[in-house]
């Protein structure tokens, strides 16, 4: 804990130093203009009007000092410096930017109860400049359009005399979605939209649901353009979806790296429009040092009365190398699945039998076995979570998985595995943008195998039915899959993890967080052993333009340890991930 405290203090110190404003210094932005205090960064075009330009003809080589002064005054005022002063010294113009006006009040006139101004951050104390007004305008529009007001009219102004930003919002009528017309679907069946649309008729308009709908259409690769426009008609909003369908087949070849496999190669072929109900077929060849596999899958929407239900045959064959085992496996199965939206959440369910072949080359597990198992899963993500997925600041995500096999049906064991996980992101105080996010995740795994005991027959249990914890996805104070019960794996597990993240405070959107994990594992089914595995640490998250970079440093500790835990090291573990979230 002492080391942890030291790290925290160091971190806070870095934050303070990083956030300190730079000292003012005299700067020359061009030969004729000197900024005596403050800072003014001009873009290339602004510089042309202030300083002239060597490009072009003699007309614009220089500009009169009075013109420089005029434009500088405009730029400074737009940036929150209302009272700059100027002096001419020969052929030079000296500029004092003066004190920067900051916002002291944010108010709405007339009052707008649908806008909770206390939730809007990054306004009070910030420069009274055009950027702030744009930000407040965008926020107000987004809030209104997310609250049922499809056609609001928002005006914002900044008042220098009382340093306030005043919102003039005319939300119009609160609208319910009346209809959603689809233009440009070509030969696609209208029912195709049902599995993408987050919009429900008769419910209050929410622009986020429209955006989710278009984003899902894009993500599937079926459409190459999609947009939804809202038209207001009194208390109703009529939506028009305009799409254009793309070419159905896609061939791709790529190579890359991941947090798990280092270098890999992917070759894929996908047909996203097998029929007018947009049934799809995908094949992917993946090869890396740790894995090589070929997978073939399809989603066939062949049920005329249930347009969101699909039949999903699948086949996969491959080879895996892990620290504790090496397996060759093949799987073939078929699922019935469904994708739909309900209760402001996105649901995805599928289930069906899978015929498996597993050859455990090294490690604990059956050397060669075939079995039939059943697999089912149901996933739900709130629309809010889906909309703010890149932000990772709010919403919930839940998942239930089942996998089981019966000795009576092509298997030599009876085993069931139940996985449940739930993640909740809480934007504390619902600020916009968020200030503090408390992320929590809970996971429970239960493997019910009878009769398997610890040492004699564990090798009958396929590796899929054994729990190996440790790593970035659960107990971060322990190395990946390090908690492995001597290589046998566990049969029960319960986990709770938390992150307390600071958002939009540090520059470049770097988000520090404190983390803690708690987990208990059980060597027997439906039983949790006494040792409590904990992690404490801190990390940084950076939503870069390329994806999310996360790094963490956590110390694993075992409370109530026993002989079985002696093998596990309690040490500092560092993770760096790309694209991975909590």
């Amino acid at each position: 804990m002492g080391e942890f405290r030291t790290l925290v203090f160091l971190f806070i110190g870095l934050v303070i130093v990083w956030s300190a404003p730079p000292a003012a210094a005299e700067r020359r932005i061009c030969p004729q203009v000197r900024i005596k205090d403050g800072r003014l960064d001009l873009n290339a075009n602004e510089k042309v009007l202030v300083c002239g330009s060597e490009k072009g003809s003699d007309v614009w080589k220089t500009v009169p000092l009075s013109q420089s002064e005029y434009h500088l005054r405009t730029y400074l005022q737009n940036r929150g410096y209302p009272n700059p002063t100027f002096e001419r010294h020969g052929s030079e113009l000296w500029v004092w930017t003066g004190p920067r006006l900051t916002v002291k009040h944010l108010k709405a006139e007339p009052p707008a109860p649908m806008l909770d101004l206390s939730r809007k951050r990054l306004v009070i104390g910030y420069p009274l400049a055009s950027e702030i007004l744009d930000d407040v305008t965008n926020w107000a529009e987004m809030e209104l359009r997310s609250s049922g007001y499809a056609c609001p009219n928002v005006g914002v102004q900044g008042q220098a005399w009382d340093q306030s930003v005043v919102i003039n919002a005319r939300p119009g009528e609160r609208t319910l979605v009346r209809r959603l017309n689809w233009e440009g679907r070509e030969q696609l069946h209208p029912s195709v939209l049902a599995r993408y649309s987050a919009v429900r008729m008769g419910e209050p308009y929410d622009v986020r649901e429209s955006q989710l709908t278009t984003a899902r259409l894009f993500a599937d690769g079926l459409f190459q353009s999609a947009s939804i426009q809202a038209r207001c008609d009194g208390p109703h909003a009529d939506l028009v979806l305009k799409t254009s369908v793309g070419k159905p087949r896609l061939f791709s070849f790529g190579f890359g790296a991941s947090t798990e496999e280092l270098i890999f190669i992917d070759i894929g072929l996908r047909n996203s429009r097998l029929d007018n109900r947009a049934s799809s077929f995908t094949t992917l060849l993946h090869a890396s040092q740790l894995q090589q596999n070929l997978s073939l899958s399809a989603e066939l929407f062949s049920f005329p009365f249930w347009p969101t239900v699909f039949w999903g045959p699948r086949f996969r064959v491959g080879r895996e190398y892990e620290r504790d085992y090496e397996v060759v496996n093949a799987r073939a199965g078929a699922d019935i699945g469904r994708r739909w939206d309900q209760l402001k959440a996105r649901w995805h369910a599928r289930g069906g039998p899978t015929l498996n072949y597993v050859n455990t080359v090294t490690g604990v597990g059956p050397s060669e076995t075939s079995y039939l198992n059943w697999e089912a899963s149901i996933t739900a993500a709130s629309h809010i979570y889906e909309f703010y997925m890149r932000d990772q600041s709010r919403g919930w995500l839940g998942r239930l998985d089942y996998r089981g096999q019966r000795s009576e049906i092509g298997s030599n064991v009876n085993v069931d595995r139940f996985d449940g996980s739930f993640k909740y992101l809480w934007n504390i105080n619902r600020y916009s943008p968020p200030l503090l996010v408390l992320a929590s995740r809970f996971q429970g795994v239960a493997v019910n195998a009878n009769p398997i005991d610890l040492s004699t027959k564990r090798d009958l249990l396929p590796v899929d039915y054994r729990i190996f914890w440790g790593g970035n996805e659960n107990l971060r104070g322990f190395a990946r899959h390090r908690l492995n019960n001597g290589g046998l794996g566990f049969l029960s597990g319960a986990y709770a993890g938390f992150e307390f993240r600071l958002v939009e405070v540090l520059p470049y959107n770097v988000q520090p967080f404190l983390l803690s994990d708690f987990g208990q594992l059980g060597r027997k089914r439906l039983t949790l052993d006494e040792p409590l595995f904990t992690s404490w640490g801190l990390g940084l998250r950076w939503a870069s333009p390329f994806g999310t970079l996360r790094g963490s440093a956590a110390k694993g500790e075992i409370l109530n340890g026993d002989l079985s835990t002696l093998a596990y090291e309690q040490e500092w573990v560092y993770f760096l991930s790309f694209g991975q979230e909590f």
Partner: protein, 783 residues
Amino acid sequence: MNPRVLDWPAIFRFFGLLVVALLLAITGFFYWAATHPGSAWKTFVQPRIFSRDTQIKTASATFNVTKISWREWKVDWILTGLQIHRQSPALSVTANAKLTGTLRIWKPNTEFHITGAEFISETAPLIYESPPGESKPQSPFQMANEWRQTLLQLNRYVRIDMLNLSIHDLQLGSTAKGGQRSRWKISGQKPSAIDPLASIFVIEGLGADPATKVTSLIRMDQFGNGSPFLKTEIELSAKEWGTKSQIEVGATDAQITATVKGQIQYGKIKGGLDSQLVMTQAQMALKGKTDLENVPGPVPEIKGLDWDFQVPLSDNQWFGTQPGRVTAVGPLSLIFVKKDIRDVLETACKCKFPDRLNARVEGSLWPGNIMQRSEIEQPVANVKVNLDPIQNSMMQMSLNGQFTVINRGGKLHYWPVVEGQAKFLDFQIVKAVLEANHILVPSPFDVLNGTIEVSSKTAVTPNENGVITIPAEVKVNLSSPSQKIVMNSTIQALIPPGRKSVEVYANLNIDDFIIELPPVDPIHGLPKLVTDSRLLGKPAPIVDDDFKVRFIYDVRTSKPGAIRLLSKLARPAIPVSVDVDRTRAGDTRGIVKSEPFELSYMHRTLFVDGLRLILDDRETADFAVDGRLRMEQSQYKVNIIVSGTIRSPLIKLTSEPELGRSDIISVILYDRTSDQLVAADRETVGVFDSAVADRAIGLLGLWVFASTPIRSFHYNPATKVYTATVQLAEGTTASLGTDWEEAAQVEVRKRVTKRWVLTASWKPGTEERSQTGKLVLQWEKRF
């Protein structure tokens, strides 16, 4: 028979008796009058002087006549408590009077030598109203001469040694003026303390505005010999004006002369006057010299103005119908609005501006029509004013005027007509002057040179509705090696009654307007030229009392494309034609349109076949736009038909050969149809299409994106804000927009080359694999 012979002795006896009887009667009458003055006054004098309704009474009356010799009597006459009252015309006198003198008849001359006269009225106002009557028209000379004759007669027969006159409240009026009376306080003494031979009278107005005080010294002994017999000092003092003048009047049989010297003041205007009047029966001539200071307007000081006025006179007419001739010559000081601007001007033009300009006034004056009350229009004045022109290397300026005054129904109406011309010969000098006064002449106009001419001829006088109209013409002819401005405009400024606003009507005709646009790069966006209107420095003022200026204009190009905006991006230039009106109601209507031209950027060319901005009555200035643009890509020709408004243009896309909308956008952005694009670029096309469909991308954005390779494009339909990264030359990129969209996807793609794209993705955990993140460099083909 013998002729009758006249009995002359009898005749002589008869007439002699008659004469004796008459003499006895006359003597008896005079004796009776002397011994019974009251009865004689009442019987013979009063009825002849006063009307029957006049009541006269005295508290006591004493009339003593003492014979000095048979032709000389001493008279002592004392009236105490004299009261004279008459109802109409009103007459009321309450006074004490004394008269002591000697009446001498005949040798050497008949004279009433008053040795002492006193008239004191201090207990009650002395009221006199003149009866209505027809006054016989007279010329000024006749009127003056009549007074002169009266005084002459009086001076011949009456000599006053001592006089004491005091009327503390004299009220004079006229029944014709409806009972309005002026009130005066009069005192007179002879001899005066100043000159023992002169009488001094002091007349003060009571409650009058202007406050009036006239002090006059009269030397009756000099009356008639031409020397000044009357020296008067007049003081008039009102709220806004006043004068203190000294007048000397002299008279002979042939002429009346007067000199007037003094100070006058009107508001802040002060002046000195030194004039002479010579009036004969045939003519009145008035000339003098005047100095004025604090005169409002461009010439606040007039020193040494010599003027001359001569008007013929005719008997029995006030001034006659013949006009008088007025001339005036004098130097006017050349004063500048700002004191230091003279130095600035002289330094800029390397020349000297004169301190004074000579002004000449010539014209006709009808003084007789000034007070007329005829409904027929009568001329009063018609004069011309000419000012010496200013000419130097910087400017040529001349100013002339004409002033016409008429009398209609007793009211004076005037029409000043001012004609001015100014030609600025060197715009660079003008620019130097403007900049010295902190008036900005921005680039690219600061390198121009040439002439600006302003001319105006206007009647600066209200019309029947009280509106003053000031017209002007402006001609601009400026140029530089690559630029040219040739414009003509006619302007009318209308100032309504109340003078709290002005309407300016301008017709601007543009023959050539060729200027160079700043060499900006469209990638960095258009820089803001004015402060963000949403940022308010102070509360909006209440403008009711402010002076308002309203512009109503009409701007036209004389030929298509007369406006040419030069830019390296446009070949050969951006030609624009304008036909715009702003009406009196404040509506701006018209058309601004471009002629065909090309826009080239980043090796891509956009042909603008025509683009029109239709100005109509919109408060938001988001005007309608229509036009047609063309892009010729390697295999397709794309036509972009624009409609809608500036901020939300509606874009219709067609192509040859025919393509679908998404493919057209793909060709615009990437010069390839969508099937040839990688997934990332297809998505960009789709999102771009959404933004265009939402009318969130304006024309500039469309052109920029058409001209530059796009690396990424994000669009937020809620806020209609897009952000994009575009590829510039030299491998650099630039970002457009201000915020990253909160993408709802978990995959972020960046196109590296034509076919290769870098994808960062995160996959949630599956049955086989937990969630993973990966970075993939991927090649794609869609078919």
